[in-house]
Symmetry: D3
Subunit: 240 residues, 6 copies
C-alpha cells in the first residue's frame, strides 16, 4: 500500500477551496486553492473583439497565466523586468485559453471578449490545473454578467471544464501531485476534461523514462475521477 | 462640515487590515488592506549582494512594485506581455526601496540581500502607501529570519516606516484617499515617515492648480497623524 | 471507405525523405521532408554545459525550432524583427528538446552540450513532428562526432525517437495530416515515441469538440504505427 | 559661517546661462546651463493630439528627458542600446511633463501637441531642475509659434515654471547643489514653482537620515528664493 | 602567377547554381549557391503598400536578410532569441532592398508590395552578394505573378541586378572570395551592378590597411566581369 | 556654371567649425559643425578590453552614433523609447568605429578601450562624415590622455582620418551636400580617407539612377580634395 507524505489516497484530491468573487471590480473572479497552491483568477468582459475577428459575429475568450516572483520557494525574476515572457508562461497561457474556449459557443457570445487572468500567488504543484479549474468559475460569472446586460445571443456557456495533474511516482499512478511528488514523478500528465467527461487536452510527458499504454490508461482513469470531483465543487461554488 | 462618501472624518484612515504570514514560503509576508486596496507583500532574504556592492560588508534592500492586470476597474495590459515596465511602476518601485532602506543599518545586515515584492491585487487609491506600510512588516520578518540564522551582525532593523496619502479635495485637506477622492483632488501628496515621526519622503504634486505653503503644512500634519496610526497597527501586527 | 485528397490510406505516412549531411559545417544535419513539409535540422556539439549544470558531470541537449517567414502560404513576420519569440515557437522548441533528451544518457555524454536547430523551410502540416524525427538524425551524428573525439564516457545515445501527428477528420482518425486536413481536424494529437515503442510525449487537443477514450485509443494506435515506420526510415538513413 | 567649494553663499544660484534659439529647426529651444550642468531643451509643436485625447478640444504637452552617455564622469551605457529606459529617466521625464502642464491652459492650446526634449549634454547636479527651467523657455517659444499660426484659441501660456534643487549638506541647508555637494547631502529636495510663487511639485528624499519639519521649512524657503531668481532670468531671456 | 586554394583564376566565379522555384508557396523563389554559400530567396507579393506610401500610386519592394544559427562554422545565437537584430543583419537587409529597388519602376508596380526574404542556410563568404543575385530571380517571378493577375500598370521590371565581392588578398585583387580568402583580404569590396553594367552600390572597406585609387580601379574591373557573368546566369535561369 | 543655393563652389566645403574640449569630463571631446550640421563627439578611455579580446595585448576602439529627436526638421521618435536601435543608426555606428580603427596601432594601444560617442545635435546633411571627422579629434585627445598616464606602449595613433559626402545633383558632382542638395542627388557617396590620402571606406549608392565609372571617378576626386581640407583643419584644431 503506497503512502503519500500528506496521507492522501492515490486517487484523492488535495483540499480544494474556491472563494468566488474574491475581487470587487472584476466581472468574475475567484481565489482557488489546491492545497497550498493558490491562484487568483479574474475575468474581464468587454465589448468588441480583436481586429482579426471583427465582423465575424463571434466572441473571443483568451487567458494569461503568470506567477508572482515569490510564489515559489526560491524567488524568481519578474518577467516584466526581464522584458520577456518565458516559454513556460507562454505555453500555459495558451493551454488555459484553449481549455476555456471549449466551454463557449462563440456565436452566442457575440462580438464580446472575455480575458481571464490567472495569477499564481503561491505555487505547490498543479498551478496550471488549478488555474483552468478556477478560471472556469470566473468565466461563468463574466458570461452571466454579459447575459445580464443583454449583450449575448442566448447561452454562450455550453459546457464546464476542469483540469487535474496525474503522475507516476515510484511506479504508482497518483492524482493531484504537490511539488514534492511532482519532482519525483517519472511521468507527468495534465488532463483537461469537460463536465460531461470528455477530453479537451491530454498532455503527458515522460520525465527520464518513457511510459507505456497501460500506464497511460491508469493515469487517464485517475484524472477522470479527479475532474469529476472538481466539476462537483465548481457546481457547488457557482450555485452558492 | 465636510462629508466623505464613506463617512470617515477627514483625518481618519480607512479600515486597515494586516494579515501577517499570508504566504507559506517567503521569509516574511503580509496581505495589507487599506479599505478595498489590497497589496501582497513578500520578502526574500538571500546571502550575497549585487556585484557593485560586493566586498563592502554592507547589505542591500530592494523592492519591486507591480499591479495585477485586473486590480483596477478597467483591465490594464500586463507589463511582461508589453515587454517593458511603465514609468509609474519604475517610480514606485524605487520609492518603496528607498523608504525601506531608511529602516536598515546596512552594516548590521551584512552582505545579505532582502528583496521585497509588493503586488497590488486590488487597487482603490493609496497602493504605494499600502505597499510601503506592508513591506515593512515583511521586511521585519525577513530580518528576524536572518537574525535567527545568525547571519547578521547585531540588529539591522533600526527604525520602522509607514506611508500615507493626503490630498486637497474640494478645498479640504483629507487623509488616505480612495480612488473616488483621488481623482477629484487638486493636490496629491504621499508622505513616508519613520516610526519616530521624521520624514523619509515627501512627494507633493499639484493636479491642475498649484498649492501654497499653508496647504502644504495642513497636509503634512494630517499625514503625520495617519502615519502614527499606521505605526501603531504595524507594532500590533508584529507583536501578534 | 474514406478517401484522402492525396490518395493515401488513413494509416499511411506521406512521402518521407531524409537527406543526411545536408550542411557542410554542422556536426550533424539533415533536410527532412514529410511531403511538402521541409525542415532543416542541424546539430552543434560543443564542450562545456550551461552555468547551472557545471560540475555535475552531466551533458545537455537543447533545441530551437523556428519557421522562415515564407514557409507558410501567407508570409509571417520574422520573430527577430518583432523582437520576441511567439508562444507557439517557444512551446515547440521545448517539446523538441524534451523529446531528444529522452534518447540520451546524460552521464555518458559528459559535460558537453549539443544544440539542435530545426528551421522550417516550408510548412505543410506536421512541422514539429518532422523536426523531432529529423533532429534525431542530426543528434545521432553529433554524438558520433563527440565519440570520435573521445569526448564521451561510453555510449550517450541509448534510444531513438520519432514523432508523428494524428487527428480526427470528418470523424475518421488519420495519420500524418497535411495542412489541408489539419485545419479540418476536430481533434489533433502529436505523439513522440521511442524506437522501442514507448511514449515520450502525448499531446492531444480538442479543436471545437472534445474527444472520448475510444477516439484517443484509435489515434494512439495509428501513431504507434507511424512512429514505427519512421524509426525504420531513421535506421536506414543512419546506416547509409 | 559655511563655505562652499565654489565660494557661493548658501542661498546663491550657480552661474545660470540661457542661450535661446540654440537650434535652427525646433519651434522653440534653448541651451541652459546651471554651472557645468548643460541641458539642451527643444520643443516640437504639431497639430493633433494622442488618440486617447482626440475630440476633447484639449491640447497636450509632454516631455522626454535623457542623458548623453558621456554627460557624466564615467560613461554610462546608452539606453537605446540596452533597449530599455531606466527608472530614473522615466521618473524625470514624467516630472518635467507634469511641471510644464501646470503652465498651460489646455483648452486655449486646442488640439495641438507640444513635445519637449531635454537632453543633458553635461551633468554636474541639478539636471532635472535645469531641464524644467529650460524647457519652459522652449515651450514658451513653441506656444508663440502656434499663436503666430493662429492655431490656438486665446493664450495657452498662463503661468511660468522654474525648478531648483536644495539639500542639507553637513547640517546646512543649501541651494542649487553641484554633484560634489549632492553626494554629501543627507536630504535632497527638488522644488518646482510657478512664477507667482506657488508649488507645483515638492519632492524631498532623506538620504541615510530622516529630516524634520524645521529642516523641510528651511529648504522650501531657500527653494522659493532660487525659483524667484530663475523666474527673473527666464523673463529676461524671453524678452531678449 | 597567384594560385587560389580552390584552383580558380583570380577573375573566376565559384561554381554558381540557381534552383528556381525551390519553394511551393512563394510567388517567386530560388536556392542560390556560390560554392558552399547557400541562400534561400523567397518573394511574397501582396496588394497594398505601407502606410507612409498609401495614395502615392507607387509600389514598394523591401528585403530581409538573415542567417540560420548553424550557417557558420561556429553556431551563432538566434537573433529572435536575443530579441534584437544585429547591426550586420540590419545593414545587409537595407543593402539588398536598395539594390532590388534599382530594378523596379515604382509607378508600373502600382500600390503593391513585394517582400524578399534572403535566408542564409550555409555561409562561406559572399552571402550578401549571393542574396542580391538570387533575390533578383525571386523578384522577377513575383513581378511576373503580379502581371499575370493584371495588378500592374505596364512592366515594373526595368533592369536586372547582380552583385559580387572582390578583395585584395596577399596584394592580389581577386573575385568572389570564399571565407578562407575573405579573412585574409586587406581590402574588401561589394559591388552591385545592373545588367547593363552601371553601378548601383560600391562598398569598399579597408581591413587594416588603406587602399589607393589604382587598387580600387582594379577591383571594380574584376567586379564588372563577375557581375556580367552572373547576369548571364540569371538570364538563363529565368528563361528556363 | 552651376550655382548652389548657399553660393559655394562645387568643390568647396561648408563652413567647418571644430570646438575642441567642449565637455569638461570626457578624456577627449569636440563640437564639430559642417554648416548647420552639429555633432558632439566624446571619447571615454578606460582600462581593459571586451571579453573576446582579453589577453590579446591589443586595444579596442569602438563608436556609437545617435541623433537627438529634434536634430531633424520633424521630430523623430527616441530609439531608447522605441526599445530598439534603427538600421541606419547601427550602420553608421559601425562605419564610424571601422574608420577610427584605421588610425590606431592596436598593439601600441595595449589592453585599453576607447569609446567614442557621436551625438548629432542638429542635422543638415553629412552627419556621418562630420561624426567621423570630429570623432578623430576626440580620439586623438583620449589617446594623448592615455599616453600621459603611461598606459600605452609607444604611439597608438598612427594616422588621421576624415570623411566627406559627395553626390551628383542635377548631373553635377558636388562636395559636402547639405540636406536640401542631398535629397535631390541621384548618386550619393561617403568617402573616408586617411590624412595621407588613402581610402578607408568608399560607399556609393545610386538613388533612382545607376552611375558609371566616369561619375565615380569625378566624385572620388572631389572627395579627396575635401578630405585634404578637413585634414588641415583637424591638424590646426589639435595644435591649438
Amino acid at each position: 500500500m503506497t503512502s503519500r507524505e500528506d496521507g492522501r489516497a492515490v486517487d484523492q484530491l488535495r483540499d480544494i477551496r474556491i472563494t468566488r468573487g474574491w475581487l470587487d471590480h472584476a466581472q468574475g473572479s475567484c481565489l482557488i486553492e489546491f492545497g497550498k497552491t493558490r491562484v487568483l483568477c479574474a475575468a474581464a468582459a468587454s465589448e468588441g473583439v480583436p481586429r482579426w475577428r471583427k465582423g465575424s459575429g463571434l466572441g473571443w475568450v483568451t487567458a494569461e497565466y503568470a506567477m508572482l516572483p515569490q510564489a515559489t520557494h526560491d524567488r524568481s525574476s519578474r518577467e516584466s523586468v526581464k522584458g520577456r515572457i518565458g516559454g513556460r508562461t507562454h505555453e500555459i497561457s495558451r493551454l488555459v485559453g484553449r481549455s476555456l474556449r471549449a466551454t463557449i459557443d462563440d456565436k452566442a457570445l457575440g462580438e464580446n471578449t472575455i480575458t481571464i487572468d490567472c495569477d499564481v500567488l503561491q505555487a505547490d504543484g498543479g498551478t496550471r490545473t488549478a488555474a483552468i479549474t478556477g478560471a472556469y468559475i470566473a468565466l461563468a460569472d463574466a458570461v452571466a454578467h454579459l447575459k445580464g446586460l443583454g449583450a449575448t445571443a442566448g447561452e454562450p456557456l455550453v459546457e464546464s471544464v476542469a483540469a487535474i495533474s496525474v503522475g507516476i511516482v515510484d511506479g504508482v499512478p497518483m492524482l493531484d501531485l504537490p511539488y514534492v511528488e511532482d519532482v519525483r514523478a517519472h511521468t507527468d500528465m495534465n488532463v483537461v476534461m469537460t463536465g460531461s467527461g470528455a477530453f479537451v487536452e491530454v498532455q503527458g510527458t515522460a520525465e527520464g523514462q518513457p511510459f507505456d499504454k497501460a500506464e497511460l490508461d491508469a493515469l487517464l482513469e485517475l484524472a477522470a475521477g479527479g475532474c469529476a470531483d472538481l466539476t462537483r465543487l465548481q457546481t457547488e461554488a457557482l450555485s452558492a
